[in-house]
Symmetry: C2
Subunit: 109 residues, 2 copies
């Protein structure tokens, strides 16, 4: 299986990050990956709130987050493990992710 594409930190674009997190479902997924601290398999997001997310849509959402540079995905056996790249991205765009996650938390995403 070909390795998944992850942008280098210098290639991460603000518009990609904003686009990725402008979808409440993706924002919720990313909040969980970033906030839990621990690595999450995609199957952990089969539902967001009470909304069921089809596998194909979920796969697409994870891909958008990955290509935006927000998460890193590695296959471990049969499952994919998703790590946040928060600390990297925060170096390049200080405060950006925190402000976005705070905004969603306050608005009650």
């Amino acid at each position: 299986m070909r390795p998944l594409f992850h942008p280098a930190l210098d290639d991460v674009r603000p518009e990609a990050i904003l686009h990725a997190l402008s979808d409440p479902v993706r924002a919720a997924i990313f909040t969980q990956i970033a906030g839990m601290g621990c690595v999450q398999a995609c199957s952990a997001f089969a539902a967001v709130g009470d909304r069921v997310i089809p596998k194909s849509s979920l796969s697409h959402h994870i891909k958008v987050l990955r290509e935006a540079g927000l998460i890193r995905c590695e296959r471990h056996g049969v499952e994919m493990r998703n790590h946040s790249r928060c600390s990297e991205v925060d170096q390049r765009f200080p405060g950006l992710i925190a402000a976005i996650l705070n905004a969603y938390a306050k608005a009650g995403a």
Copy 2:
């Protein structure tokens, strides 16, 4: 002419802000409205960088920014004046707009 819709501060949604600013053209327009401090007519954005923006597209972009709660638009005579709502939005989502504009500035939007 019917008055333009502006969301109340409490109705401003993070996803709308991120979506509005995930387009580099809109981000550039908003940077100019927010950063110049002074009010700008739409015609000030007939071009962004060296890219010409058609009037209809420009009108659409301004509408997206307005409906996201980022700007306030008022007709003054024959032209429309666009004010930023930065300070309001910053009360509701502290640091969000600053972090986004900093990110674009750093990436060289």
